[in-house]
């Protein structure tokens, strides 16, 4: 049961965060943080299909995390979500066409190794 929840969380969180990044990139940089401008930005973002998809995937990730922390120690539940780091970076490179240089790959690898030790 625990590993099924981990699998659901990792897949849905990966999809959710990549879709979120795609939607926010499509929207463009938020520069104006005054309430009116923020309200307009929220309105535009809420209609973005990538963001809508992202919210659906993140809802699945959230409820599987809720269930996971109820039955597994938090020192396991939180670090195990770092399993999304490598697939998300690959998708950022392939889907979002980000330039992932050696510095980012090395950083991600160090973090993935570090999280393995912490867990």
């Amino acid at each position: 049961m625990i590993w099924l929840l981990v699998a659901i969380q990792v897949v849905s969180q990966t999809i959710g965060e990549v879709f979120r990044a795609a939607g926010m990139r499509q929207h463009g940089e938020i520069r104006d943080f005054r309430p009116g401008a923020l309200g307009r930005a929220v309105g535009a973002i809420a209609r973005n299909k990538w963001i809508i998809g992202s919210f659906c995937a993140m809802a699945v990730a959230f409820f599987s995390f809720m269930k996971l922390v109820a039955i597994a120690p938090v020192s396991f539940a939180v670090p195990v979500s770092a399993a999304t780091l490598i697939p998300e970076t690959i998708l950022a490179r392939v889907m979002l066409r980000e330039r992932v240089d050696w510095r980012r790959w090395t950083g991600i690898s160090l973090i993935a190794a570090g999280v393995y030790f912490i867990a």
Partner: protein
Amino acid sequence: MPATSAIQFHTPRDNEALKAKTRLFAVIVVLTNVAGNAALTKGMQQIGDPGNSPLSLVRALFHPWVAAGVALLIGWTASHMALLSWADLSYVLPVTSIAYVLTALAGRLFLNETVSLKRWAGILLVTAGVTLVGLASPASTVKESPR
């Protein structure tokens, strides 16, 4: 699916402002994430296994600690989305991973959990990775403005 992205032109002054804005939002993302997860965990541990009914999971949302966790995680979602509007996902992911270190340290400080040598080694590796990525530019599409 290459998400369409307009190349944004920034002056050196804009770049400094962008870096400051990125640091501020990265701190908000990390703090709301750590505090939200901690509150959610505390609430769910008090409730216990909610079973497999979706309704019981929805009912759990009204527990005070779970509700506080959800409120903080809404703050995390909003700040994470704002950060992703100008920074690359492959930058945001590693930089905000310092949350794993803070979660381990919070366990040491507030829950009296022991941090073994292996965990300290992990903390060192994560910190090194975050520092390495954090020193670079947050967006690979940002260009200096032609003058």
